[in-house]
């Protein structure tokens, strides 16, 4: 490599700058597909299973044990949380300083918010009939996810993350208003689908 030589001309200098900046950003930023697609898949599959077992007006489209949908959904969400947590932690290992600290605090916010909400819902859910209990569980956690995405958009100054959060919040509210069964369908298709699309859009918008 011609190490100490000046670049041939200003245009080449600009090309070097752009190429090096894009290469660096792509290496130190977490891949948005790895952050969002696991969640998109978890919601799409998990809530579809819910819809098939707990349809509108207590309809059962596919017969399965009553505990199975929750187990499937929680397992998928656990896997998604693990993947995005590892991806986020790996990204913050590349660069130390303010961004890494923000990342740690933001990650902990998710963990604490979900633990707290799950604690409340566990106490509440037992007292309610299946349909309503599912709606309260899914509605609260989806709403929390929407709010945390909006907050994340504010923290990282990331518009697509903010809009995804706003979209999830609206989809969730619409689903809750439509009622048990419909909520699962709406969140599976629009929520899960929205996350898959958001991951793709954020990835396409990375500098290259």
């Amino acid at each position: 490599m011609t190490e100490d030589q000046p670049p041939l001309d200003p245009a080449e200098s600009l090309r070097i700058i752009q190429r090096e900046r894009a290469a660096t950003v792509r290496r130190i930023m977490p891949d948005p597909r790895l952050l969002l697609w696991p969640w998109g898949v978890a919601w799409l599959l998990g809530f579809t299973v819910f819809f098939l077992r707990y349809g509108p007006d207590d309809r059962v489209y596919v017969a399965m044990p009553r505990w199975l949908p929750s187990v499937v959904l929680l397992a998928l969400m656990f896997a998604a949380g693990l993947i995005s947590g590892i991806v986020g932690a790996r990204a913050s290992r590349q660069v130390t300083g303010l961004t890494a600290r923000q990342g740690t605090m933001y990650g902990l916010t998710w963990a604490f918010a979900f633990s707290g909400m799950i604690t409340v819902l566990s106490r509440l859910g037992d007292q309610l009939p299946d349909g309503l209990a599912n709606l309260i569980w899914a509605g609260s956690l989806t709403g929390l996810t929407g709010a945390l995405h909006m907050a994340g958009g504010a923290v990282w100054n990331d518009r697509s993350m903010f809009f995804l959060g706003a979209f999830l919040s609206v989809v969730n509210a619409v689903g809750v208003i439509l009622g048990p069964g419909w909520h699962a369908l709406v969140v599976a298709v629009l929520g899960g689908g929205g996350m898959l699309v958001a991951g793709l859009v954020s990835w396409l918008r990375m500098p290259r």
């Binding site: 100490d4 200003p10 700058i17 090096e20 900046r21 290496r27 130190i28 590349q94 300083g97 500098p207």
Partner: protein, 118 residues
């Protein structure tokens, strides 16, 4: 617009150092990158990167901090405020060189679009 052509900063205007500074310019203020990570991104040998970092350090553009992360020693690199300024000036100078000089003053008001260094 009628000024003489801008001088290009000789410290940055060398391919290897331009690459180093460009890469470091993507970090936010308050962030540092580890030496091996930077070396990996730039695909330079350790010795080569050290030489260029020293020149940038001598110019006050880069700060190299040796520290410990847990028990393992770590070398962290970041642009100084002065280095960031020098990079911005360098980029502006390049753009001035590339802007056609025959442009009327009003036409020169809008520089070519680039990524904003944050």
């Amino acid at each position: 617009m009628s000024d003489a052509l801008p001088e290009l900063d000789p410290v940055i205007h060398a391919q290897a150092r331009l690459r180093v500074v460009s890469s470091l310019s993507t970090l936010r203020e308050g962030d540092s990158i580890s030496f091996p990570r930077l070396q990996d991104i730039l695909r330079m040998t350790a010795g080569n990167l050290s030489v260029h970092l020293r020149k940038l350090e001598d110019a006050g553009y880069v700060e190299v901090v040796k520290t410990h992360q847990g028990r393992t020693p770590a070398t962290l690199v970041h642009l100084t405020r002065r280095g960031r300024l020098a990079f911005d000036d360098y980029t502006a100078a390049l753009q001035a060189l590339l802007t056609p000089r025959t442009d009327p003053p009003s036409g020169a008001a809008k520089p070519p679009r680039t990524e904003e260094p944050t």
